[in-house]
Subunit: 252 residues, 2 copies
Amino acid sequence: MATYSTLSQPSKLLFRQLFEKESSTYTYLLADVLHPSKPAVLIDPVDKTVDRDLSLIQELGLKLVYAINTHVHADHVTGTGLIKSKVPDVKSIISRASGATADLYVEHGDKVSFGDLFLEVRATPGHTVGCVTYVTGDASDHLQPRMAFTGDALLIRGCGRTDFQGGSSEKLYKSVHSQIFTLPKDTLLYPAHDYRGFTVSTVGEELQYNSRLTKDEETFKNIMENLNLPYPKMIDMAVPANMVCGIQSKPT
Amino acid sequence: MATYSTLSQPSKLLFRQLFEKESSTYTYLLADVLHPSKPAVLIDPVDKTVDRDLSLIQELGLKLVYAINTHVHADHVTGTGLIKSKVPDVKSIISRASGATADLYVEHGDKVSFGDLFLEVRATPGHTVGCVTYVTGDASDHLQPRMAFTGDALLIRGCGRTDFQGGSSEKLYKSVHSQIFTLPKDTLLYPAHDYRGFTVSTVGEELQYNSRLTKDEETFKNIMENLNLPYPKMIDMAVPANMVCGIQSKPT
Ligand SMILES: [Fe+2]
Ligand SMILES: [Fe+2]
């Protein structure tokens, strides 16, 4: 069993997990605090909590560089557009495969750098066609264990649905097994959502206890095809908005 | 500015933050995973999430030793009684000053040991008469920075109310300034609640940005006397239950 290790000496990486209660979304703040400008990135910000996030960033003396999405969300509106309207220097990032509009597009194998740290981009389609997982670097000056921000590709003991937005249970199974479960067992997994109050898991834990992805591929596909989930409440509003960073008509 | 540092090599301390959405309560799981029996403690478990917590503990291969409360909660029923009924070896812990019934009582200066790790008890009355803060040890084999589990004595950018349960704004001010703000600035602060989606703060941050406790004592007392908060919804049910570990008639 990989264990969740913990907090060490003051280090480069400042990390904060933030929660939006209505959609049970986690937003993640990462910054290189040993770099003179303290550059920071936000992963999966939510429109409703942008002011909270920006005031925390200001209090911590960070400079927000990138507002990043793991995918085009269907359950909430991304905060990236609103952030850009409030802090014009910030660039939005999403995968090219998502088909969404952003300032910068990433692909499998790319690195998103902030200061001397970076996030590695791993394509993990299946929940949506353009889902990516961002993984902290494994260079010797990065912190161990690594952290993976999995969006809805892998949730704690579960995974995102595969019946909308170019979803595919077959692709999701391959993505998680080839791109996430191959990370070291102590890699910390930070999903875009949790509905039961969990905040983190590890690769080792999910390899052993994920209720869906521990199954063989056929069983997994069967599970995903028989979830009988209701039509996503927010999808008709959220997806068009999130295709353009959450703001349909630009404020300027 | 003290910064939130982050994750190091596999270490003794396994740490998990868990959230109960209805009362916005954080429960904390800590374990010494290098000790053969992997002894664990739960701080501020909630009755509604006991099954979640116990199944996580089981999956992680931990042995729950203590179910600990920071104080007699007024907004939710503690999970300690239910945990004891399901795992009879677990001992409940609360401060002697709380007046509540538990298996073990702690006082200022005591240590709560699990494996080779321990929590130091600091009396921080003011929100209730028996509030304590549990602080991870500062011995060389403990992890740095330290972590303080503050209950409702200190919340992120705020604090608990002082108008019930033997509360006193004067005492709370003294408690936080003498027992929490004197910890190293990089000490991680983990409160019993957060209502805005924050998960952690630091002593340095609260020294600079706490909206109440950065004020002088007179201003603080004034703020606390003029909050005009509604009567606590759950208090008449929760407090009597929490005085006896959450279970009024013992199951055995
Ligand atoms: Fe999604
Ligand atoms: Fe309380």
